[in-house]
Amino acid sequence: MQYEAIIGLETHVQVKTASKMFCGCATDFGAPPNTQVCPVCLGYPGSLPVMNEEAVRKTILAGLMLGCDIARLCKWDRKNYFYPDMPKNYQISQYDMPLCRGGGVDIKLKDSREVRIGLTRIHLEEDVAKNSHFETTSGVDFNRAGLPLMEVVSEPEIKSPDEAFAYLTALKEILVSGGVSDCDMEKGQLRCDCNVSVRPVGQKEFGAKIEIKNMNTISGVRRALAYEIPRQIVALEKGEKISQETRRWDDAPGVTSVMRTKEYAHDYRYFPEPDLMPVVVSDAMLAQIRELLPELPEAKRQRFMQQYGLPEYDAGVLVTDAALAAYYEQAVRWSKNPKSISNWVTTELLGKLAEAKLTIAECPIAPPQLAELVTLIDGGQISGKIGKDVFAEMFTTGKSPSAIVKDKSLAQVSDTAAIEAFVDEAIAKNPKSVMDFKAGNQAAINFLKGQVMKLSKGKVNPQMAGEILLRKLRGS
């Protein structure tokens, strides 16, 4: 029998703000434990939450980028459950009136077909603390408690581990490009719960839903699903009954295992949060946030291909990172050769950055300097080969290419008399090759040209060198 998987993802994304969701504590990562806390985010008696405007705005921005309907009226609710990482033992979240509904994420399948994975909703809530475990005890650090968290809930429309991977990658790209979140998975800024079930192809009803909790890498989600789907299919084929349960993903052995079964299902006792007032999203507020809408990566890719005449590959590489795309566009502004700039950025520049473990923001070469380098090459002032040395020098020193060319006397020799001297020397030193050429071996000229370049240490204009060589050999 053929089976199909049905997957829905709940993705928690940390919204990029300076202060926490309901208090003024800083959101900086890596501070010593329990130093970015206050009565509010520690759940002290008598403290009250006050909503961070920026978190609301950025969630609306995310909703606009993902094509959601933005609620004109939304409210906050308390979700009640006890856990040591939960300061108040209830989480302030949104239950029946979330900020965003609908929308979707476009992904490209392996066969190049594009599909849209629908979203159910996006709501805003507060993060919990971070637990660490010792032999007989656990420790709790509340620095993370109260960070603004966006929960993006997909429809159960994802059909394979690869689609889940593509969905999360696209979602991340969009949220990063809009400045909604950095989605830094090493800092736990993007975490994912999967709901997955399988059923025989053709069957209408869904199979029993298995939830896999708290995965913090996109590839982990793919691997967990690649493990879990066949596990369920094998179980069904063996005639076993799958019942609803929650499982955890263990990355090292690469397996999922049971966390809890349905008997322990939560009774969250949601009710409206009396300490927070509803938010009314006005036309004016929406218009203001719309102004912040960045170009989506796909639209930018199309524009790069048209505006700069780039091949699809180049454009694709450049738009993966909004900062890289911005760097490219700045450099192009100083140059007449967008394709050449693209070549330098996508090969040399990305290579050097990776080697030095730097981000594009930390790049020592300013965009106009890269443009200047391309202009020097295109204008024949330096050869392409010398250009690479100059680029390396620019990367380590941050100097301008013209300064480096001048300091190191790397300028290309285009003076006829000087080139003639090198040509004469090459002819004198290689009589055999001269004879070969005269005997009709056209290839011999390439060897001689190489010799001219060698004698000049690569500085003569190769085209001129070739012409002079030919003239001398024919004429003499």
């Binding site: 009565p39 520690l42 759940g43 002290y44 008696p45 008598g46 403290s47 009250l48 939450p49 006050v50 909503m51 308390r78 009640n80 006890f82 856990y83 040591p84 300061p87 108040k88 033992n89 209830y90 709790v140 509340f142 009774d267 006792r269 949601y270 009710f271 009396p274 300490d275 927070l276 007032m277």
Partner: protein, 485 residues
């Protein structure tokens, strides 16, 4: 001159003219407390040195001459409000050892006004009760009859003011917890409009109902103290950004032509005969002062107790979830967190708190939410509308504060439902979010126990209820009577 019997406005005049120092006043109160509080138990925590140091600082800086409204006036604080560096137990074992790291908004206001924070008053645990018997630290006694309770939950604050152990006090009111003990102890107590006083630093019982308010010896003091407590606070999202008037300017105005509403649902069988007679007498007094009496109806009154106990306990069940032994307060060890929670909360909370957590949890739990909590919220809307309609016909509404005078300790402890019914006249004010004040309006005969008159006002109608209360008080002498201690 006995300093402890003075009012704020009397003391203020003397402090300004340096007839007396803040230190002397504070010392007089500490002496009074030392002499009386062993039998009254109004206070549960006091730091004499700290109180005197605050008073000396006031004297040193000449704050009284600067015209700070409470400079040098000792004020007692209900143990439900955070004061930096002080314990705040909420009369519960579960907060044993907790030291507040911050000041509540009202505490900052009081400090700014030059008040001397005198000590922490007893209360029903987490403000859940109407008699101050649900305290983990013992029962507070009514200054008029030590066999009897002072009302609750702010019983310690009411008793302290009535017994001259404080010049004034701060309490909180979720369903009558200021007005009812004020009535039973014979002092003035006001519950402000929801949103008028910041709740930041007030340990939440029922967040949509709680308000902080003053206990004073007369209406003028009440106006002064309310002016200090009120104000907009950005740390409380339910605080309203409306300018605070000078409430004392509402005093001394006549009630001539004002319409006083009398809701028929508040004059029913079950109210003590002497209480009913005293309130009728007060209404006649207002009429004789020129007020127009308007008979009206608040038809959903009979549902208020049910609505209140569902909403208040549901909110409380979440508000009290944070007391879990992880970050502060009591912890009873357990093998895993769940066991630790159950033991800590089992040992830390008293029976009334447990009962309400169970009721509130049940009202919110799967399958019951619509039938209980949601229905109560909808009925709350009907109660609010009753008042909106009523205030189209009148300027204030006058009722008894409590159906009976102070009852004997232990009398209602085994019957929570009877205890809940003693709040029947006060809790609608909290459900509607409006303001209300209780002032003395007479005494029962045997024994002599105070009776309270409740005056309810529109949202942000504090000036109006103070005006009516003051006019009545000035025409009577009930507020001048003192218990024989």
């Amino acid at each position: 001159m006995t300093l402890h019997t003075q009012t704020i406005h009397e003391l203020r005049a003397q402090l300004r003219r340096s007839k007396v120092s803040a230190r002397e006043v504070t010392q007089a109160l500490l002496d009074r407390i030392a002499a009386l509080d062993r039998k009254l138990k109004a206070y549960i925590w006091l730091n004499r040195d700290d109180a005197l140091a605050q008073a000396e600082a006031i004297d040193r800086t000449g704050a009284a001459k600067d015209g700070k409204p409470l400079a040098g006036v000792p004020i007692a604080i209900k143990d439900l409000i955070n004061v930096e560096g002080q314990p705040c137990t909420c009369a519960s074992k579960i907060l044993q050892g907790y030291v507040a790291p911050y000041d509540a908004f009202v505490i900052r206001q009081l400090r700014e006004a030059g008040a001397v924070l005198l000590g922490r008053t007893n209360m029903d645990e987490f403000a859940m009760g109407s008699s101050t018997e649900n305290s983990s630290w013992g029962v507070t006694r009514n200054p008029w009859d030590l066999e009897r309770i002072p009302g609750g939950s702010s019983g310690g604050s009411a008793a302290a003011v009535a017994a001259d152990e404080a010049i004034a006090a701060i309490g909180t009111d979720t369903g009558g917890s200021i007005r009812q003990p004020a009535a039973l102890c014979g002092c003035v107590g006001l519950k402000p409009t929801y949103g008028r006083v910041s709740r930041y630093g007030l340990v939440a019982f029922a967040s949509s109902l709680d308000q902080i308010g003053p206990f004073t010896k007369d209406v003028e003091d009440c106006a002064i103290l309310l002016g200090v407590l009120a104000g907009h606070d950005v740390k409380d999202s339910t605080s309203v950004a409306q300018a605070v008037p000078d409430y004392t300017r509402a005093l001394g105005k006549s009630v001539k032509g004002l319409r006083v509403g009398i809701p028929k649902e508040y004059f029913i069988a079950g109210t003590d005969r002497e209480v009913a007679a005293a309130v009728r007498g007060a209404i006649q007094k207002l009429q004789s002062l020129g007020a127009e009496i308007v008979e009206l109806s608040l038809p959903h009154t009979e549902y208020a107790v049910a609505v209140y106990y569902l909403i208040a306990t549901a909110e409380a069940s979440a508000n009290l979830a944070r007391f879990d032994g992880v970050r502060y307060g009591l912890r009873v060890a357990g093998d895993d967190p769940i066991e630790m929670y159950r033991r800590t909360r089992g040992a830390g909370f008293g029976p009334e708190v447990k009962r309400r957590i169970i009721l509130g949890t049940y009202a919110l739990s799967a399958g019951y939410y619509d039938a209980y909590y949601l229905k109560a919220q909808k009925a709350r809307t009907l109660i609010r509308r009753d008042f909106e309609k009523a205030f189209e016909k009148c300027d204030v509404i006058v009722t008894p504060t409590s159906p009976t005078a102070a009852f004997k300790a232990g009398e209602k402890m085994d019957d929570p439902l009877q205890m809940y019914l003693s709040d029947v006249f006060t809790l609608s004010v909290n459900l509607a979010g409006i303001c209300g004040i209780s002032i003395p309006c007479g005494f029962t005969t045997r024994p002599k126990l105070p009776i309270g008159l409740q005056i309810m006002g529109k949202p942000f109608g504090e000036e109006m209820i103070l005006r009516v209360a003051h006019a009545y008080e000035q025409a009577t002498e009930w507020h001048l009577q003192r218990p024989n201690l």
